[in-house]
């Protein structure tokens, strides 16, 4: 079962390495990882997607909470939440393909943010499934390079993760 954890972390050197080390040490899996400081610059927020049954997620959460620098842990998949991922994708765009790629980009509400004679760089946000679908729609031959941010997640409505 896929799970999306939101973690508030002291924004200190070495704090992230403890989180990542914990996953390696206890044989837990990290599918995607996204981290940046929050509006409070003493805190970083991590969104981490992993897989496991209920017991495993409970253990992961408990062990994360044992880390001194972890301030809060929430399993976003426990409730309604939003998730988004950012992708920058460089696509071959020559001849007839140029129009085709542009059209596909529009359908997925992407933006072309860099153009050369034979390539577009497209920015696309959405759920991970949407980004996957875009890559499939382009066909593999067109794709030159992909960079994805990993999932960011936030609770819906008035659910707030803060101190």
């Amino acid at each position: 079962m896929r799970r999306l954890l939101a973690i508030l972390l002291e924004n200190e050197a070495g704090a992230l390495s403890r989180v990542i080390g914990l996953f390696a040490q206890r044989n837990y899996n990290i599918e995607t990882l996204n981290v940046a400081p929050t509006e409070d610059e003493t805190l970083s927020r991590v969104t981490l997607s992993t897989t496991g049954d209920e017991n495993r997620i409970e253990q992961i959460t408990k062990h994360l909470n044992r880390l001194i620098e972890v301030v809060k842990v929430v399993d976003l998949t426990d409730g309604d939440h939003l998730e988004r991922e950012l992708m920058l994708i460089k696509v071959r765009a020559v001849g007839a393909l140029r129009e085709e790629v542009k059209r596909c980009c529009d359908i997925f509400r992407g933006q072309v943010i860099d153009v050369t004679n034979d390539a577009y760089t497209i920015q696309l946000t959405g759920t991970s499934e949407k980004l996957d679908a875009f890559i499939r729609a382009l066909g593999e031959t067109a794709v030159l390079e992909v960079v994805r941010s990993g999932v960011s997640g936030i609770g819906r409505a008035d659910k707030i993760l803060s101190l």
Binding site: E10, A13, G14, S17, R18, G21, Q25, N55, E58, Q59, K62, H63, N65, R66, I68, E69, V70, V71, K72, L163
Partner: protein, 593 residues
């Protein structure tokens, strides 16, 4: 208020003084020379010069386990720090509070592969409760304060402070003020149990017909032995301890079933398997206890009390989990039960409990340690390890601090030395660190100068840290080392006997062993050698008598090399699946081994 002007190195030592530290176990080197100079210029803390950094960490650990106070270690960077890692991991697995200060190359050199540079924070990360890298000297007082608080509170554990040399520079001075309190927004260990869960637990205990109280190191570390004993006596329930929990309940009490688990007593393991209620306190259902978790105690409701939420439902699902400090929660459960029994003296099913005790007594009579005749005589009249431990028990009237190493001797000591109070039995349970026993005994002896401290060891473990005999001479430590010498790595050999067709792959070294009496005498200590049962009690009376009160005495007890530890859990089985004895030179192994 007047503040003092101190260098970083001086602040570090001053902060240790302000924490009330008595001893620092350490070894100097380039990266910590500023700190050593600060030590030289003061008297309040005594520094103990060890012979190997691993031993320093075990000494601090032994000091901590026997007192409940944090042990402190000081080592240099690079190899000094990495040598300490085994001891840090040992303390981590058994949740003991130690603070390890390691030197580091100067901040400007970090990452440059400088001489004696190791990323100590990185190397130690998986085996510490927390760690710090000092970035500037001004942080030192706060970091020391936090380190001691974190090491000692909640589920205790080791904390590393990695100190780059530039932050201890003796020519740069700072205002020193030791913080009065710690504020960590992300760390607030539980201080009390949930009252609803406490009521549920009390009701479950009262309703039990076949209960067992199973307690671990948490009762020792949490100073909860008195509360446990009071509750267990009120309920008259059988009590069993893990290897780490021995001494949490009086070992000579009728109500005590002995240790449980892989080499636990027959009655303890049978009772666990057939129980309808297991009350686990400060124990973590280690694989050495449960055997196969899928077959564990099929009928039991599990009530699990622990300070660490991560220990609950990790291996065995808890029906009634309680997170909190053992002593306080046990006292609250006891109050609830006292009140309920006051209202209704019939609240406990005395008849069912009477039947349960009859079954337990039956098991005890059948295969219990005291009723088992199998080790009356060793092969060819030789000495048996169990007899040596029992003799030590008699000679010390059960009142010694006993440390051990890892292997057969450790199990014999745990089985046959009956600890009637906490913090007396000191061994590496979780990590199983050979070489722990002697340095741990040294830490205990420093903490309790007048006490009798025995290290029950084997020749394999002893040789892993025997260099500390020199430290013992330097500081005149009158430890009694009982070496159960079977001329082999006994536990490995036992497994090879039982599971590998007797092929002793690299578990013997008989012709290469030193003369241990000559060896220890060369360090200036007293040594005895015992080969036969008829010499045993007289020798032990001598060793633990007034004659050798101030001497380190090494007893080289040559025991029957064929002896195995029994009972032994059958791999993959339930807790009631045990090999009980050796029959006709072969183990009574069931087909499913």
């Amino acid at each position: 208020m007047m503040t003092e002007r101190l260098s970083g190195g001086e602040m570090l030592i001053r902060a240790l003084q302000d924490e009330g530290v008595e001893y620092v176990f350490g070894y100097p080197g380039g990266a910590v020379l500023h700190i050593y100079d600060a030590i030289f210029k003061q008297q309040r803390i005594e520094h103990i010069l060890v012979r190997h950094e691993q031993a320093a960490t075990h000494m601090a650990d032994g000091y901590a386990r026997s007192t409940g106070k944090p042990g402190v270690v000081l080592v240099t960077s690079g190899p000094g720090a990495t040598n300490a890692v085994t001891g840090i991991a040992t303390a981590y697995m058994d949740s003991t509070p130690i603070v390890v200060i390691s030197g580091q190359v100067a901040n400007d050199f970090i990452g440059s592969d400088a001489f004696q540079e190791t990323d100590m924070v990185g190397v130690s990360r998986p085996v510490v409760k927390h760690s710090y890298l000092v970035r500037s000297a001004a942080e030192i007082p706060r970091i020391v304060k936090e380190a001691f608080y974190i090491a000692c509170s909640g589920r205790p554990g080791p904390v590393v402070i990695d100190v780059p040399k530039d932050t201890t520079d003796p020519s740069v001075f700072f205002d020193y003020e030791y913080p009065k309190s710690v504020s960590l927004r992300s760390y607030s260990p539980s201080t009390r149990g949930h009252s609803g869960q406490i009521r549920k637990a009390a009701n479950a205990l009262l309703a039990a017909k076949r209960p067992v109280i199973y307690t671990g190191g948490g009762v020792i570390q949490g100073d909860a032995a008195a509360e446990l004993t009071k509750l267990a006596r009120r309920l008259e329930f059988p009590v069993t301890n893990t290897l780490m929990g021995l001494g949490g309940f009086p070992g000579d009490a009728e109500q005590f079933l002995g240790m449980l688990g892989m080499h636990g007593t027959f009655e303890a393991n049978m009772a666990m398997h057939h129980a309808d209620l297991i009350f686990a306190v400060g124990a973590r259902f280690d694989d050495r206890v449960t055997n196969n978790p899928a077959k564990f105690a099929p009928d039991a409701t599990i009530v699990h009390l622990d300070i660490d939420p991560a220990s609950i439902s990790k291996i065995i699902n808890a029906d009634i989990p309680i997170v909190g400090p053992a002593g306080r929660v046990l006292a609250e459960i006891d109050r609830v039960i006292e009140a309920k029994l006051g209202e209704d003296p019939e609240a406990l099913d005395k008849r069912a409990l009477g039947d349960w005790w009859r079954r337990i007594h039956g098991w005890r009579k059948q295969h219990g340690l005291d009723h088992d005749q199998r080790h009356r005589q060793g092969l060819n009249g030789s000495l048996l390890p169990q007899q040596v431990v029992q003799s030590v028990y008699r000679a010390t009237k059960g009142q010694a601090f006993v440390t051990s190493d890892v292997g057969q001797h450790q199990m014999f000591a745990a089985q046959y030395y009956k600890f009637d109070s906490p913090r007396r039995w000191i061994n590496s349970g979780g990590l199983g660190t050979m070489g722990f026993g002697l340095p741990a005994a040294m830490g205990v002896q420093f903490a309790h100068p007048g006490a009798v401290v025995a290290c029950i060891t084997g020749e394999g473990s002893f040789m892993m840290n025997m260099q500390e005999l020199s430290t013992c001479m330097q500081y005149a430590l009158p430890i009694k080392v009982i070496n159960l010498n079977n001329q082999a790595l006994g536990m490995v050999k036992q497994w090879q006997d039982m599971q590998y067709g007797g092929r002793h792959s690299h578990s013997t070294y008989r012709d290469a062993l030193p003369d241990f009496t000559a060896l220890t005498e060369s360090f200036g200590h007293v040594a005895y050698r015992i080969d036969h049962l008829d010499e045993l009690d007289d020798a032990m009376a001598d060793v633990f008598g007034a004659k050798h009160r101030d001497d380190l005495v090494f007893v080289d007890a040559h025991i029957d090399p064929e002896e195995h530890v029994y009972p032994m859990a059958i791999k993959g089985g339930a807790m009631n699946d045990m090999v009980l004895e050796r029959v006709d030179g072969r183990d009574d192994i069931r087909d499913d081994l």
